[in-house]
Structures are given as C-alpha cells and as structure tokens.
Symmetry: C2
Subunit: 424 residues, 2 copies
C-alpha cells in the first residue's frame, strides 16, 4: 500500500461540478489501495475576489489580516471537497494549515515552512480517512498567527506534507499532461518529458516554465521525494521529477537537451556611463537589493579606455521595473552614472539539459540555430546544465522553435493537449 499526496489547484476545484469530479479521482486512488492525503487551493477566482474586497476597505491592508482573509479561500474549498468525498461513501476530514502542522516563519504573504508536524494527518490516515489539507497556508511558530506561503504555495504545501509523511509520491495535478520539451502553444510538436531530474526541473522553473514552482522542486530535491506532474483531466502518465531519471529508467544514454524554456515576463535595465571605479557596481546592486529586487542576468561591458566609463545591463521581473528605476535614480548623483535605459520588450530563451555537461558543442549549435533563424542575441548567461539568451520579445517564438528543432526534440505527432485554464 502506497501513501500518495495529491495537489489540486484552483482551476481543478473552480465550482461544485469540478469539486465532485476531483472527489471521484481521489476516491479512485483510495480504492486502488492507497492512503491518500490531498492539498487543495482556493476555488477559481476566490483569492482575487477577496483581494478586491480588501482593497475596498484599505489601500494597504496589514499582512497579518490579509493572510487571515485569504486563508478563508482554502477553508471553503477543502470543506466542500471533504463533503463531496463523504458523499461518495469514503470518510474524509479537512484540516487547516495550522491543524495539519504546517509551521512557518512570521513573514506574512510569503512565509517559509520551517517544520511540518502532521500528527493529526497521520491519525486520520491510520483511521482509513482521506485527509484534505488547505494549501498555501500555515501558522507562525513565533506569533501563532495564520500565514500564507505566497506564489506556488499550494504545491509547496503538498511537497512538504509528502516529505514529512514519508509519502511514496507527490502528485501535482494541472491542466496539461506533464512537462513538455517546449511550450506546446509555440511548438505544437513538443514532446512530453517522461522523467526529468530535480536540477533540470529547477532550471526549467527558473527560466519560465510555469508548470511547477521553484520552491516546491527545491523542497522535493532536498527530501528526494518523487513528484508526478499530471493532468486532472486525463488518466495518462505525466512527468516524473526524480533524482536520477537515467539510471531509474535503465537507459543507455541521457538526452543532451531536456527542453527549451522561455520567459516573457522580464525587463532589461541598462545603467549607462558608470565610472569604472572599484565599488560602483556594488553600490548599484546594493541599492537594488535594498529595494528587494531580484536580479536575474547581469552583463558588464568592457570599459572604454578613452572615457573610463562602462555600461552595466541586468534583467529583472518587469513588475519590479518602476521600483528599480526609482531606486537607481536616487543614487545617480552619488554613483555618477550618465543615464538609465529601460526595455521590457525582451524575452529569455533557455536550453536545459544535464547532458550538456559532457557535450561541449551545445553552445555553438544553439547560437548557430538562432543565427539561421535570424534572431539577434542581446545577453547570454550559462550554468552547468543551462544556456539562456535574451532576445527581442518578437523573436521568442522563432528562437524556441529553432532551438527545439536543432536538438531533435520534435515528436512525430502532436502529443500535448491543454485541457483547461491555468492553475495557480
């Protein structure tokens, strides 16, 4: 008998009909002989509706109260899901994050899980019950206040519970059949990836593949917990995220490239004419860090000898653009740079594959494919298992298609089916 933790997002429980369908799937998993624990998000647009109400009463609601408000969403969906399962003749119990023992720090709105003490969940399992746990929420160890985990929170809840319960697998249900070699909306012949390593999945997530959140993959890697990403609309096998996909599969050789990811949500800022002195770059990035802005790629031009000045470009989430520009303007006189350029018409295209460690020709082939497709590269960044380039936003589709094809990732026929909307 296996212990399976399942996670259903907001689009999977958007209304009563959806909830009843999910209940049937959960009951089927139970009847197949498994113990089942479920993490569930708030129904469809509930979170947005609650945020809207909050805005109506306060332009800057305190984090503690906002968390109290938003956690009502999962309370509703989990109770309804437990009722729907009960109606199918199987006993189910819903638990808040606090009841499930999801202990966090006190950072409201993006709390980090510091411990999971799932005594009541274990008790429910031992009684043969299905435990339904509110995703996205926990309780602060220090203040005993209710907290939320921020983006990707429900996935993280599921993985953290699975790790604490020593589950056999954490199934993340979504509206596609798994992780694909590229976004099927851009490359219709993209292939489902049957198995992928944590490291590659982390790079995919960091490079714009929205199917799993970075935090949940990190958590799974730390506890060596297998994740099965699959569709809540079909019974097909999805994508397994595991430590060592090659040896587990018994394959002879690893594919060089696992997939091509892209991201249109970044912007590029260029600080023009920075005096080429020790500490100038440090001042710039300290100002950005103080404004809590996450920088992605950084390029510093070789200093022009004639002027003694250089340009520094970096990318960041476009939503942080205005904040970053403000922070930099405040230090313009101190640092003495000349001007700021802002460009949010960029895109990032990334090639990810553990196999590229042992294949030195990958970069050349990637850049060659982009050149053949007429795509100009603006910035480059690499890791051991990833190459990312910044291109014009208009060139993203062409770049993804060219790279996908150059590394022979195309399937013979269309494999991907996108079933519903996008979950959270």
């Amino acid at each position: 008998m296996a212990l399976v933790v399942q996670k259903y997002g907001g689009s999977s429980v958007a209304d009563a009909a959806c909830i009843k369908r999910v209940a049937q799937r959960i009951v089927a998993t139970k009847k197949a002989g498994n113990d089942v624990v479920v993490a569930v998000s708030a129904m469809g647009d509930t979170t947005d509706e609650l945020l809207d109400l909050a805005q109506q009463v306060s332009p800057m609601p305190p984090g503690r109260e906002l968390d109290m408000l938003l956690t009502a969403g999962e309370r509703i969906s989990m109770a309804l899901l437990a009722m729907a399962i009960g109606n199918l003749g199987v006993e189910a119990r819903s638990f808040t994050g606090s009841q499930a023992g999801v202990i966090t720090d006190s950072t409201h709105g993006k709390a980090r899980i510091i411990d999971v003490t799932p005594g009541r969940i274990r008790e429910a399992i031992d009684k043969g019950q299905i435990a339904i746990v509110a995703g996205f929420q926990g309780v602060s160890r220090d203040t005993k206040d209710i907290t939320t985990l921020g983006r990707g929170g429900s996935d993280t809840t599921a993985v953290a519970l699975a790790a604490a319960l020593n589950a056999d697998v954490c199934e993340i249900y979504t509206d596609v059949d798994g992780v694909f070699t590229a976004d099927p909306r851009i490359v219709p012949t993209a292939r489902r990836i049957p198995r992928i390593s944590y490291e590659e999945m982390l790079e995919m997530a960091a490079c714009g593949a929205k199917i799993l959140h970075l935090r949940c993959v990190e958590y799974a890697r730390r506890f060596n917990l297998p994740i099965h990403v699959r569709s809540s609309f079909s019974n097909k096998e999805g994508t397994w995220v595991v430590a060592d996909p090659v040896s587990e599969e018994g394959q002879m050789e690893q594919p060089i490239i696992s997939g091509v990811a892209h991201d249109r949500s970044e912007a590029k800022i260029t600080v023009v004419g920075v005096p080429d002195k020790v500490g100038e770059a440090a001042s710039i990035f300290k100002a950005l860090a103080d404004a809590e802005i996450n920088i992605d790629m950084i390029v510093q031009n070789v200093s022009a000898a004639a002027t003694g000045r250089t340009d520094i470009s970096f990318t960041l989430p476009a939503t942080d653009g205005p904040t970053a520009i403000n922070a930099l303007k405040k230090i313009q006189d101190d640092v003495g740079f000349e001007s700021l350029l802002y460009d949010d018409r960029i895109g990032k295209v990334s090639l990810i594959g553990a196999g590229m460690r042992s294949h030195p020709g990958v970069t050349a082939k990637f850049f060659g494919a982009l050149a053949d497709a007429g795509v100009n590269i603006e910035m480059i960044s690499t890791s051991e298992i990833r190459i990312s380039v910044i291109v014009s936003q208009d060139d993203v589709d062409a770049a993804v298609t060219a790279a996908h094809s150059a590394f022979n990732l195309d399937a013979d026929q269309v494999e991907a089916v996108v079933y519903g909307g996008t979950g959270r």
Copy 2:
C-alpha cells in the same frame, strides 16, 4: 477606562461600505477612552451562499465539514473589519473563535460554550489593540475540531467573551433602537424599553421577540453582565438588559407590564381520543422527545366520563410539524388514540412583566381586552411574570394592539425607527 464588548451582525457588515462605517463606530468608542473587543458575524448572505455550495456537493454534509465551511464567513468579515480599522490609524487584530479561546463541546452545528480562555484577546487589549473576534464559532475541547454555536451564536460569543474578560458592558448592535413594548410594525406607538430585567428579556425572547437570542440572555444573567441593545445606525441609547432595572433606575415603582410579544412560527397538534389511562400522555411526549422536538404549551382536556377518553393539545415550532406527526403516527396503534389534528394557522401573544407578580388583576384585564377586541383564546399558559395565549393567526395583530393599549403602553408619538433589514 471601561472595557466594552461590541457585537455586529451580518447586516451591519453586509458590504465594504458597511464595514467601513462599523469601523468608524468602533474607533470612536476606542477614542472615547474605552478598551474595545468586537464579535462579528459573517457578511450579509455569506452563510446562505456557503450552505448552497454545500448542498451542491452533498445532500447531507457531515457536521464537522459544514462547520469548517461556514466558519470561513466570519474569517472574511473579521479580517476586513480589522483592515478597515487599521486604515483609520488604530491597530486591530482579528482572532478566530479558536484563537480567542472559545472552547465548546463537540456538537457540530449547535455547540455549547464550556469555557472561554481569552489569553490572546487580553494580550491584544494590553497592547492597546482592538481585538476582532469571529462570532458564532469555537473549537471543541475534546476533538480540537472547529465548531459553530448555531442560532444566535454571534450574540452568545459576544456575551461569553464579555463575561470572561469581566467587561463593563456588552453592546449588541442591531437595526432598531432597542427593545420595544411591542413590534412597531404592529403597534406604531410602541415605546422603547429603557431598562429591562434578564428574566423579562428571557420571556420576551422565548415568546417571539427576535431581538436577542435566549442563549445569550441566559449567559448574561448567569454572569450578571449588562447588555446594551442598540442600533448601529444611530447613536441613541437603546435598551439595557440588567439584573434589577428598577432599583438601578431609582424609580419608585415598577411598571406592571414591560411588553407584549408575539410569535407566528408555532403550530398546534391535537391528539384526539386518547384513552384516559396512566402513562398514555407520557408515551406521547416520550415519542416526541425521541424525535428531538421541543414542545411549548400543553393542554389536556378534562376526560369525558362517558367515553373514558380525552384530547391532548400542544404547540411546537411549525418547522417540526411533519416530524412530530410522523412520530405520533408510529405510536398510534400502541397508544390507541383516535386521530391527529394539525393547525399551523395559530399565533401566540404574550404579556410579560415582573410587576404582574404583585398585581393579581392582570389576567382578567388581559382577557377582557382580548374579548373586547373579539379575539377568541384557544390555549393559555402562564409563568410568574408572563401570560401567553394561543389565538388564530389572523387575530394576532388585534390581540397585540388591544393588550398594548389596555396596559397603557402606548407612547404619545411614534418612537421606533427600523433602519435596515434583519440581522442574524
């Protein structure tokens, strides 16, 4: 400095605008130099909407899950109210029933409070914060599950908190200016009752005055806690419910009658031709008790010597009518009664007043007034401070008006203003 506990019902926090208005009232109470604790119900129709969702996924939702679901309603209203207060520059913290220490038994849907341990509320008060507590909910001592208190639950939460915190007063906000000598919709010249005893208020509540729930008055009496019933739409003094209204007011004499209450929600069942033997009545009322039906008034006719049979009539909530009829039909053969009569076109009119203890003529005057108004009395029941009669539902208005006038309760001018809808 006084400690004031305030309770706002669903109609007082129906939308963002209402919540902001209530926030201003709370802040004004705080700025007047008081410590303030607030118990709040779910917004307007939230509870009904959640019940409707539950019905969609399960025809018979388990009580535990239904309570988990419904308590999301207060979570939303209390977080929004705390935000709205914060936006006025005063710090507020919201607390669930569990966080506020409202400990109950495990009877889901109508749990009873068995202890209140308001450590976190006291802490918030000591920090100068306003504590907002979810009404209607608690946590089971034995199972640690979330419970709801059932009808009148938010009033009970407020009074229980006020008692545990040794508050100076519990203010129950509603949509009328207090308790009136009769329903102003029937008697436009009804007078606001400035002060009333717990005993009289209990009789009023039991006899159909919907302004305060029986349980909350009982709780306040046990702890000798003053309740101030007032309107959330005005700043007028309302009605004080206290132990000894006369001596506290310094009056010379108590009014004979405090008010006239009425109730159209009951039905009458007559069990016809019951054999006049020992134990027959007991069998009938045991069957009703087993079906969990609350009986109000009972009348047994004098047995007719010729037949050796008698009729037993009783009243009960009309909503329990079908259940009661079924329960009685099952024992018809065993008991050997002849038939059942059912009448839900009845009304109960009650005269309440502590002063009637020392005024023996009250009954005669009451019945005389009804006779003059052409109202036929079907059943009679009395307590030390109350006389109730069952009349035809069509005669209720005439009976209330006649009694109100006979005891000189009419004001010189219209005092009552009904501001909004009805709260819960």
